[in-house]
């Protein structure tokens, strides 16, 4: 849609600093309102509108931690797509398989961290195998790669159903991750003047921290290392990268390993916070799709922004309009496509 995006990009550069300053101001005001909403003791009328402060802040926190999980899944998806033009619709299956493997390993060894490591390692290997034996044969044919990934997801879902049946599993987290964190956020003041502080599960905070660490790690890998340089060059112009003597197939294999491994990692981490069951693959595939459509293909920052938007929309929708929650996600996607078809951080091609 080069016709449509032309005016917006030119007006942006013509508007220059003033426009940016205006947006900065809007952002500051929004941040100030947010800080006040989170830390102030709410007056009654606000409690009446937004159910209760506890519900509101919990929805925000749940949204942010869910965004961390979505980011882990979607960052692999977006990297793989950005570099190889490969829409890997089996990405949700990778998530679910990682969760099952994490469950088995944790159950047999008793070490949760071992389960997390196994989820990452096994899926990274599977990712390389998929890239080398399946997708490499269909290189340059986007549609067939996507169709093949659909076929793989069907077979994988059915085989996982055969092995683990239809039951719901919960990966047990170690004791040091159990318990709740008391946050310095006052949700209410009792009649005797004692403040009630918000408590929040420690595990979810750890998930968020892990997502942030991995996100920063990915960003550093992409922007500060040689492999990252190759990946970025490949995203921009694959043929040119190949012509400069880089073994693109090795780069592809690395990206597929990291992407699939992250999906497996997210599977174990998410399976500990939520649960592992058939159908989760579709849920996380949808999340990955929407996150990268909104955030922009091939961009880690975009995946983070998209994940944050979708995670918050989902949780706030769940609290305030449960039977129309998904519409909010949908609206975000449609608005993004209407205003900026390449996604928030995506580059026009």
């Amino acid at each position: 849609m080069s016709l449509l995006e032309q005016p917006s990009s030119s007006s942006l550069s013509a508007g220059g600093m003033t426009r940016r300053q205006a947006w900065g101001l809007v952002g500051l005001v929004a941040a100030a309102v947010m800080v006040w909403l989170v830390f102030a003791v709410w007056p009654d009328w606000l409690n009446a509108i937004l159910i209760s402060k506890k519900a509101f802040v919990s929805a925000i926190l749940n949204g942010i931690t869910l965004a961390g999980l979505y980011f882990l899944v979607a960052s692999g998806f977006t990297l793989i797509f950005g570099l190889m033009r490969n829409v890997n619709l089996a990405h949700g299956s990778l998530y679910l398989l990682g969760a099952y493997i994490g469950y088995e390993v944790t159950n047999h060894t008793g070490y949760w961290l071992l389960g997390v490591a196994a989820g990452f390692a096994v899926l990274a290997i599977i990712g390389v195998v998929m890239q080398v034996f399946v997708f490499r044969r269909l290189e340059g044919d986007d549609l067939r790669q996507t169709l093949v990934s659909i076929g793989i997801s069907i077979v994988a879902a059915d085989l996982m159903l055969a092995v683990w049946a239809g039951g719901t599993y919960q990966i047990t987290t170690p004791e040091w991750l159990d318990g709740a964190l008391t946050l310095p956020i006052i949700t209410a003041v009792r009649s005797n003047g004692v403040s009630v502080f918000l408590t929040y599960p420690l595990y979810r905070v750890v998930v968020l921290a892990a997502a942030i660490v991995i996100g920063v790690g990915l960003w550093l890998m992409l922007n500060r290392t040689r492999v990252g340089m190759m990946i970025r060059a490949g995203v921009d112009d694959r043929a040119m990268l190949q012509a400069s003597g880089v073994n693109v197939h090795a780069v592809f294999a690395v990206v597929f390993a990291v992407g699939a491994g992250l999906a497996g990692f997210a599977g174990v981490v998410g399976g500990s916070a939520l649960s592992v069951a058939p159908g989760e693959d579709v849920r996380y595939l949808l999340a990955s799709l929407v996150v990268v459509i909104v955030g922009g293909m091939g961009s880690i920052t975009g995946a983070a922004i998209g994940a944050l938007l979708i995670g918050l929309a989902e949780q706030i929708g769940l609290v305030y309009f449960p039977t129309y929650g998904i519409v909010l996600t949908f609206v975000i996607m449609v608005v993004t496509l209407a205003v900026r078809p390449q996604g928030i951080m995506g580059k026009a091609r």
């Binding site: 549609l143 077979v155 209407a338």
Partner: protein
Amino acid sequence: MSLATTANVTPQQNWLERLGAGHIILAIALVLYPLVASDFFLTQIGGYSLIFGMLGLSLMLLAGYGGMVSLAQITVAGIAAYAIAILGNNNSNILGFGWPWWLAVPFAVLAAALASALIGWISVRTEGIYTIMITLAIATATYYFAQQNYAIFNGHSGYTGIRAPAFWGIGWRDARPFYYLCLGLAVLSYAAVLYGSRSTFGMTLQAIRDNPRRMRALGYHVTAHKVFAWLLAGVIAGLAGVLLVWFNGRVSPGTIGVDAAIDVLIIAVIGGLRHPIGPFLGAVVVVLMQTFAIDIVGAERFNTLIGMVFLVIVFVSPDGILGLWGRIKPHLAQESLRPGQ
């Protein structure tokens, strides 16, 4: 359209020749099919194949002529099905305006066509492989929405007790009338797509598929043509959705789930996306497999089988069964079904 069996017709031919021997034989076979088939083969195989063939046809129209592979065709059909349940009568005590069929059906198809055009308008904002992602996201989101919303979609259980109409003294859900109803609508859609593919619009659409930039430079409104193709595909998918809800007597989120969305794609790809007959061929193959594979691999592992067949087809013959035929045919005749593109 150089691949249609009757593509190189000249105006001098009479209508019988223009129809082609293949079509005539096929038509006679399909009309006479009820004489030899039992009720089970008539509806569960015949009618069901025709319905899913129509769904595949609506996808073939978009993918084959427009280059837009959609995973939302079952969603469009589902909108028509839900509209029939809401506008007509159902047993679920929710909504059900009780409109007669001749009023409900046009509105249901119209709703489906508009929804399809909307999906098209959203997805043609981007190009190529993005379409498949966006339509899959829309299909999945609609599925979850239908599941969580009780006011419109009656949540998880959906609508039951939807009856096909009875008029002219015929109960249209009976095996033989239903088969002929499906056959009639399928033939109508098939002929319309075949005719449309050679019309000015069809030619323009195919040109846009091959080189959108050049068509834009020539002054064609690329987006409008694509969205109109989505509208037409929506009409076909909507008709299929009406038949589907009459066939099942019920509609629930499971009807429009991701599995079903992928099934439509599998049908179209296995059959072949290069000619309107492909999806019907694919539908017959898949429905037969669905019915009889249970005896071979058991009901449990059916999806593994169909997934494997799908993978083999995508690897071996990207143009599906039609493509296989296209490879054998040059040995019989001189012309290939798929001249180099």
